[in-house]
């Protein structure tokens, strides 16, 4: 039986440890933010350029609607299409993780992983914090180009959704960030088994582009494809948040969608942790 004093000190150390951890995380986050701010000009330009492929899509759909004299195609008006593509850009700003998986693969291949094995810093936490920093800086720098494009295209939007939908939208965006991170990190960790994962990542990127809804609204797909995409986590990376904003998913369906998204995040956190633990067990680093 422990004495009350011992219990208090145990609680105290637990609190202290958390504090120490938070301090470490804060330092990592700050360093990453400063590192990121070095290339802010490149960042802003890159963001604007990323809207270019949408320009062709907008013209393509505009021409299709005009040529076929249709009000709606697959439940979308022309304005819906434009709004949808712009909203997927927002989703992707949260869920895309450029260089994450390939960076992990490189660290495994070049033996940098052993750094994390001897330092009291967890690799996944470190990467997650660096990514959060990356995204925060990105939002600060990208806010202006995004605001500009959305302002110019404001007439394509049906207006702001009600507050609860907006809240669900923000939640789904944050979840899409987490899902994107843990999914790609898991893929990168596969490099503990296969040193060269470039082609695997390329195939993932392709699938992601197609089945996340970046290329077209996923509810355009006929059966059996529409059922298939519902069983994949990819639709939560781009399609789902955009559909929430546009009011395509509502009520019980919306709650269910968010729950499934949470479930996918939990699955990939587990998978990522498990792969990392197994990978590190397998890992052997040589030399300095």
């Amino acid at each position: 039986m422990t004495s009350p004093a011992a219990g208090r000190s145990a609680r105290f150390t637990w609190f202290q440890e958390l504090q120490a951890r938070a301090a470490t995380w804060w330092v990592i986050l700050r360093i990453s933010i400063e590192e990121r701010l070095v290339y802010r000009g490149d960042f802003a330009l890159g963001t604007l350029m990323r809207f270019l492929p949408i320009v062709t899509q907008v013209f393509l759909w505009g021409a299709i609607f005009a040529a076929n004299q249709r009000e709606m195609i697959a439940g979308y008006t022309y304005h819906n299409f434009v709004a949808y593509y712009l909203l997927t850009m927002v989703s992707r700003a949260f869920s895309s993780m450029p260089g994450l998986a390939s960076g992990i693969a490189r660290q495994v291949r070049e033996g940098e992983v052993k750094k994390y094995l001897i330092q009291p810093v967890d690799m996944i936490t470190m990467l997650l914090l660096a990514r959060v920093a990356h995204k925060l800086v990105y939002y600060v720098v990208a806010a202006a180009p995004f605001a500009l494009v959305f302002y110019v295209c404001r007439s394509y939007f049906p207006g702001w959704p009600p507050a609860e939908v907006m809240a669900a939208y923000v939640v789904s965006l944050v979840l899409s960030f987490l899902l994107g991170f843990f999914l790609e990190a898991t893929l990168g960790l596969i490099s503990f088994w296969f040193l060269e994962v470039t082609s695997l990542l390329f195939v993932y990127m392709l699938f992601n582009f197609f089945f996340s809804g970046h290329m077209f609204p996923l509810d355009m797909l006929p059966e059996p494809w529409s059922t298939l995409v519902n069983f994949l986590p990819l639709k939560y990376l781009a399609y789902f948040p955009a559909a929430v904003f546009l009011g395509k998913v509502q009520g019980a369906e919306l709650v269910q969608g968010l729950l499934v998204q949470v479930a996918w995040v939990v699955v990939f956190i587990g998978l990522c942790r498990w792969t990392y633990a197994r990978g590190v067990n397998r890992y052997s680093g040589y030399g300095g």
Binding site: D42, G62, A63, I64, A66, L206, F209, F210, M220
Partner: protein, 277 residues
């Protein structure tokens, strides 16, 4: 040096690349399959569009780009892009590394045209898988079309595909040359992708005030719209008077682009300061 010397040197480059590709056979196969899967994704997207509007639905009003006409267009895109990817893309990427590491010095001292050497050193044979698929798609689409191209179209088509390759190549070499000034140009591929993205659809889809402006700029300033549109129209649709103008202009655009690309390359080269010594 005479032309056949250049041809012999290029033959050696091509053979070396093939030998290397065949040494890593699985890698070659995986590359071919993954670039093909990109094509399938695109094809899936367009099939989906025509699934929604019907195969007789047009991509742009009065343009005649229905499903199978557009698939001819798509196969033309595949021909041009796969040729550029096989013969020029790996070299343009390598070029910025040559500059950064000072390896360009060794190329400069060789008794051959520098642009020739850096443009053609490597061949990425696996990119030609898309070329082969483009051939299949073209045959399939033509089979489904009622219109049959005449002998003139059949002869002019490959010629204009090659013109398109030259325009893309010139654009690429001009972009790659900027890495001499910038030190390093990692976003080269991105920029290239964004620019050539405009060439992937029939030019008729660019309508309205902004669209007209875009069509004009991408026809007369950076002629990427000519690249696929001119040969694809030849093969997919009966010849119309305005197409003759476009075909004439395409010749001009090809020559102009090649000259401009070479000019930028040489200007950049003259400000090259070796990185190694």
């Amino acid at each position: 040096m005479r032309a056949w010397h250049y041809l012999a040197v290029w033959g050696t480059f091509a053979r070396n690349s093939l030998v290397r590709d065949m040494t890593f056979r699985w890698n070659f196969l995986i590359n071919a399959v993954s670039s093909l899967s990109w094509v399938f994704m695109n094809l899936g997207f367009y099939t989906l569009i025509f699934h929604q509007i019907g195969s007789q639905g047009e991509l742009a009003a009065g343009s005649g780009w229905r499903q199978y006409e557009f698939f001819v267009f798509l196969s033309t895109t595949l021909f041009v892009n796969s040729l550029v990817q096989a013969f020029f893309m790996p070299n343009a990427e390598e070029f910025s590394e040559l500059i950064r590491r000072g390896g360009l010095d060794y190329v400069l001292v060789k008794p051959m045209d520098t642009q020739f050497l850096i443009s053609l050193q490597q061949v990425q044979w696996s990119a030609l898988a898309n070329f082969a698929f483009g051939g299949c798609l073209l045959a399939y689409s033509l089979y489904h079309l009622e219109y049959r191209p005449g002998w003139f179209q059949v002869v002019a088509y490959p010629f204009y595909v090659l013109c398109g390759v030259v325009i893309f190549y010139s654009l690429m070499i001009a972009l790659a040359s900027t890495s001499i000034w910038l030190g390093r140009n990692q976003s080269l591929y991105n920029f290239w992708f964004y620019l050539t993205n405009f060439s992937r659809y029939p030019m008729e889809i660019y309508r309205g005030p902004v669209g007209d402006w875009l069509r004009w700029a991408f026809t007369f300033v950076v002629p990427v719209l000519v690249v696929v549109n001119v040969p694809a129209r030849l093969m997919a649709k009966p010849l119309e008077p305005d197409h003759w103008y476009l075909m004439g202009y395409a010749l001009l655009a090809t020559a102009g682009s090649f000259w401009a690309g070479r000019w930028v390359f040489q200007r950049a080269l003259s400000s090259y300061r070796s990185a190694s010594s």
